[in-house]
Each structure stands twice: as C-alpha cells, then as structure tokens.
C-alpha cells in the first residue's frame, strides 16, 4: 500500500516512515504543506498522514485543497495541538481520522489499516463471517458453529466492529471512539472488561479462540 507522510518534525517523520516501511508499505514523505499537497495531487495514495501544523501550508488547508481537487484519499491527521475543538476542525476540513501526539506507533498503524480497509468498500454487507462465527446484520443475530449467541446491543456493535476489521489490530481507543463514541480515556480500562465478557460469549467452550489480545496494542478477531 502507498502512504503519504506530511510531517515537518524530521525526527518524527523519519520514525514514522521507517515504521511504515517495516510494516510493508510504500512511503513518500514531505516536510511542508506545499510539497505535501503537490505530492498528494500527483499520484494516488491509499492513505495520507498529515500533521496539523505545517510550514508554508497548514495541514487543514492541505486537506481542504485535496478535497477541492477531488482527491478521496483517506486522511489521518496528527496533531500536537490541544484536542477538544481541534478534532472537530480536522474532521470538518475533510480528515477521516485524528490522532493526538504523542501516539503509540501501533495505534497509528491500526488506524492506517482501518482507513485502508474503508477505502475498499465490499458493497453493502448483510453478513459478516470469521471462521465459524457469523453475524447477521439484518436480523442482528450471532451464531457460532450454528449455535445462537445472545448479545446485548452494545456487545453486538463491539463484535460487528471487530469483525469488520477482522485480521487487523483494533486498539482500545479505536473501540471507545467507534463503539461508544467517546473521545477520552476512562481512568480504568473498562474496554478490557467488555472484551472479556464478549470473549466469554463467543469463545467459551470452543477449542479455537477467535478473539485475541495483541500485547501492547489491542485486540484482533481472526480465524486461526
């Protein structure tokens, strides 16, 4: 996958580019808004990672220009600014996701993967499958190996999100943002408790677990 990194802090840029390359992506980089914009418009990228504050052309302006020129490349904003209203501004300008510095690289990678996945729409799905686990989005019923699983509405949404990102790392923050729509970290890690509850429902009594904990990163649902 081809990724564009627009970041003026060269140290951070180097680390980002290196990490993304190690994860198997092709990366182009720019250190200011103008270069970033001309790169973004010159060739197709699967994801653009744009710092919010850039010399020459501000991050918001870069993305606004990209959208103006018809680019639909998903954009992940990185920002060192204070968060409360900046996130809203970023998303309004046409960004797709927003990450506050300092970030954990696994968090960034998980979000980039999620953005790429969003890029390739698989049509309107009415059913999700992972191994022998099925989720019917119309009847809102879950089954594993043909046995029905009772889910609370929120558990259903949690499982749906995990299954839509099957095979990808999903971080706690991503879950909190997408399933609960909270943009803050609760003091106690409540997400873990929700996950272990869900795990008890879908994995208990089965030989092969589907819901895995990825150490230091988050969770992943996958069949073996």
């Amino acid at each position: 996958m081809r990724i564009l990194v627009v970041e003026d802090d060269l140290e951070a840029q180097r680390y980002l580019v290196q990490g993304l390359k190690e994860s198997g992506h092709v990366v182009d980089e720019a250190a200011d808004g103008e270069t970033g914009l001309s790169l973004a418009l010159s060739r197709p990228y699967d994801v653009a990672i744009v710092d919010r504050m850039l010399p020459k052309l501000d991050g918001l302006a870069v993305v606004a220009e990209m959208r103006e020129h018809g680019s639909s490349t998903p954009v992940l904003f990185l920002s060192a600014l204070s968060e409360v209203d900046d996130r809203v501004k970023g998303l309004k300008a046409g960004g797709d996701d927003y990450l506050t510095k300092p970030y954990a690289f696994v968090e960034l990678l998980a979000r980039v993967d999620a953005l790429m996945r969003r890029r390739t729409p698989a049509g309107v799905k009415t059913r999700l499958d992972v191994g022998d686990l099925e989720l019917d989005l119309l009847t809102r019923a879950a089954k594993r190996s043909g046995t029905a699983i009772e889910l609370q509405p929120r558990e259903f949404r949690l499982l749906e999100y995990l299954m839509r990102h099957a095979g990808q790392v999903v971080t706690r923050t991503m879950l909190l943002e997408s399933v609960w729509e909270y943009h803050f970290d609760p003091q106690t890690n409540v997400i873990d408790v929700h996950i272990s509850r869900l795990r008890a429902k879908i994995d208990k009594g089965f030989e092969a677990p589907l819901l895995h904990t990825v150490r230091g990163a988050g969770y992943m649902i996958r069949a073996h």
């Binding site: 951070a12 204070s82 968060e83 510095k101 300092p102 909270y182 803050f184 609760p186 003091q187 230091g216």
Partner: protein, 456 residues
C-alpha cells in the same frame, strides 16, 4: 406607564396649587377693598345716620365700576344702590358672599359674578357691599373646565411618547442583550451595533465593544499560549516515545532491558495522560475551548456511561444503578459531561467496598437539573471537600493508588464550563454524593424524537 401617570399627576398638582394660590390672593385683594369700603360707609353712618349712608351709597353707585352697593330694608326693598334687587346668594365662603347679578353692557343684560359682604344696619336694614369678580370667575371656570382635558392630553401624549421612547430603548437594550448572549455562547467576534447617534446607548455599546476587544485579545492570547504549550511539549514527548519504542523493537523482546524500556514507555504514557488532563482542565475552566454545545438528555448520557461501567462494577461486586427522572434536555457538550460523569463513577467504584452500591440519578428540582452519583464508600470528610477539586489533590497520603489526582478537578472544570455547580455532600447513611447541578437556564425544549442517545 407608571411614569406617565406620575408625571400627569405632578403637572395637575402644580397647576392646581398655582390656581389655588392665585385665587386666594385675588380673593384677599377683593376682600380688602370691600373691607375698606365698609369701614368708610360705617363712618358715614356714624356721622350722618341712615340718611347719610343712603346718600353716600347713592352717590357712589353713580360711578359705574367694579363696586356694587345695595342698601335694603328688612323686606329686601331697595333703599339705595346700583343693584336692582337683593341677589340670590350662591356661595358664602367665610363671612363673604358670592352671587350673580345682572348688568347692562353694550345695551345687553349680562349675568355677572360678584363677591361681597353683608353688613347689618340698625333698624333692620342690610347693607351689601360687593365687587364685580366676573373676570376672575370666568378665568376660574375656564381653568376648571380645561383642567380635565389638559390632564387627558398629558396622559395620552405622555403614554404615546413614553411608549415610543421605551420601545426604542428596549429595542436597543435587546440588541445589546442578544449580542452578549451570542458572545457568552462562544462567538467572541460579535460586537454591539452602534446607531451613530452618540447617545448614552451608543456610549455604552462602544464601551462594551472596547471591553470585548480586550477580552477577545486575552482569550486569543490564552489560546495561543495553550496551543504553543501543547505543541512544544507534545513534540519532544512524541520523539521520546518514538525513540523508546524504537529501542524496544531492537532489543530481544523478552530481555530485561526491553522490560525496563517498556516500563519507561508506560511512565511516559502516564506523563502524557497527566499533561493531557491538565490541558483539558485548563482549557475547559478558562472556557477558551469552543467545545460544541448541543441539546442533550442527561438520562441518555448517564445511561451510556452506566452501560460502559456496568461490567466493571459486576467484576468489583458493586451494584451500579441508574434512576433517570423526567427526561429533560440541557444545552451542553456530551463528551465533557460524559467524561465528568465517567470520572465520578470511576471514583465511586474505586472507593466503594465490594457489596456496596453506586447510584446515578437525574432529577429536575426547583434549583435546576441534577445529575448525581452516590456511593456507599467512606465519603470525604467535610474539611477536605473544597480541597479535593483542586488539581493533584489526593486524599490518601501515599499517592500510590492509580489515578492522576485530576479526576475531580476535571469534573469541577466541566461544571464551571456549563455554569453548573459541583456539590459534594454526605450520602446517607454512608458515602459520598456528588451532584452536578445545571442551571434552569440551560434547559432546552426539544421535540422528543430528536433527542436520541448520542451513542445511537
């Protein structure tokens, strides 16, 4: 309106006072003349007797003027004088009398008003000495007939003028109020419009605008400082975290060095967490954040938070319940209120021993809209209650339990941001009850359908 009435009455009172005074002075003057006449006539009588008096009256009656005389016997037959007959006395103020008489003027008989005094003359005669006061009488009558009309005119004109003026004033006050409302709601770029007349309202608006310019500059400055502080601390923290991650990746993942670095990363994350919380508190408290406000239903916000924490309470063997009162929408920021509530619930669960209870309640009271969290933990001693909302204050001396000590500070800041009150009180029989009380002014009327839980 009340001013118009007051004004009309003052004017009426003043006019009446003037009228009354003038009349008294004129009356006194008339009475004096009459008194002098009577004294003169009395002397005539003493010297020349009744005959002499009648002579004098007759001769004086020849001069046509203001003076009127009539000397008559006991049967009211005229003996001498310039009045044809004994008049009908219409009014007798004090020892004076007032009456109407007829007098030819320009060949026509005219009824005129006179004022005089009756004086008994021995032998059952009566002497009436009077002065024509018709002019005064006319003025007086004109005054008493026009006074009610004048009053009515004053009332009507005053009411109209007052209404116009107050409408104009209200309109301008309204404009100022509307603008201030928008500014309080967060739009600091708004200014009060001047109408160029240079009157007191314009001066007020100008002063307000100058004040607003200053506030806006200060707020912008504060925001810039916050942004710079955020940027300048986050950038090196980001590099630090990157480097630590990089080093741990290079090391054997199970080695003790890797473990050490992972601990350093955890410490960095703690530092970042504290910094983020401080920044959020500072921004929220100062109101520099333009966090989006929208109508939200506290019961729905509470239900979401309860749902988030419910599995955790199950694990800690604490009963978490929500008693949502009448649904009522208030103007607020969902994220901030949810975060404040999450902090309160988090604390309550942390301090409530297993088997205990945490109760969340929403209620509309006479004082406002309340969102409360009550636990059955140890509570907070009265002496510490005002202290716990200060930054970094934690009550246990060791500071070893997890948390930044900023949880309640954030709750207080969120309360402040919403003009709400944070009240910490005893929960009966035991524990702490934390109440976020939103003012009644934050209540919004919203059609029920558009009030959905933001998590939907």
């Amino acid at each position: 309106m009340i001013y118009v009435l007051l004004f009309a009455f003052s004017v009426a009172a003043l006019l009446f006072f003037t009228y009354w005074n003038t009349r008294r002075a004129l009356d006194a003057q008339t009475d004096q003349i009459i008194e002098a006449e009577i004294t003169g006539l009395g002397e005539e009588y003493e010297h020349f007797g009744l005959q002499g008096l009648a002579e004098t009256v007759r001769s004086r009656s020849l001069h046509t003027g203001q003076a009127l005389y009539l000397l008559s016997d006991g049967l009211h037959h005229t003996v001498a004088g310039n009045l044809d007959s004994w008049p009908q006395i219409s009014n007798s103020p004090g020892n004076m009398v007032e009456f109407d008489y007829e007098r030819p003027i320009d060949g026509k008989l005219e009824t005129r008003r006179a004022r005089g005094r009756v004086f008994p003359v021995p032998g059952d005669f009566s002497l009436l000495v009077a002065q024509d006061v018709h002019d005064r009488y006319l003025t007086e009558r004109m005054f008493t007939t026009t006074l009610p009309w004048t009053m009515l005119a004053i009332l009507v004109l005053g009411t109209l003028g007052g209404a116009l003026m107050s409408r104009n004033m209200l309109r301008r006050l309204d404009a100022i109020n509307r603008t201030s409302g928008e500014i309080i709601a967060g739009d600091l770029t708004r200014r009060v419009a001047l109408n160029g007349s240079g009157d007191e309202f314009d001066t007020l608006a100008e002063n307000l605008n100058r004040m607003l310019d200053r506030i806006e500059r200060l707020m912008l400055g504060l925001r810039e400082v916050t942004d710079s502080v955020a940027h300048d601390l986050r950038t090196p923290l980001n590099r630090l975290r990157n480097r630590l991650e990089e080093s741990v990746a290079k090391l054997n993942a199970n080695g003790s060095e890797a473990f050490e670095i992972e601990r350093a990363i955890a410490e960095t994350d703690q530092l970042i967490g504290t910094f983020n919380a401080l920044l959020l508190i500072a921004e929220t408290d100062a109101g520099t954040t333009r966090a989006a406000m929208s109508p939200l239903e506290l019961g729905a916000v509470a239900a979401d938070v309860v749902e988030l924490y419910e599995p955790l309470t199950e694990e800690n063997k604490v009963a978490l319940s929500l008693a949502a009162g009448t649904p009522v929408a208030i103007e607020g920021n969902r994220s901030l209120i949810a975060q404040a509530l999450a902090n309160l619930v988090d604390n309550a669960i942390k301090y409530t021993p297993s088997g205990g209870q945490v109760r969340i309640r929403t209620a509309v009271t006479s004082q406002g809209v309340e969102l409360s969290v009550a636990d059955s933990g140890p509570g907070i001693p009265l002496a510490d209650r005002s202290r716990v909302t200060e930054r970094f204050v934690r009550l246990e001396a060791s500071r070893n339990s997890p948390g930044t000590g900023l949880g309640l500070s954030l709750v207080a800041a969120v309360a402040h941001f919403h003009n709400a009150e944070l009240i910490l009180e005893d929960n009966l029989p035991t524990g702490l009850r934390a109440v976020l009380r939103f003012p009644k002014s934050s209540i919004r009327i919203v059609p029920p359908l558009s009030l959905k839980s933001a998590a939907e």
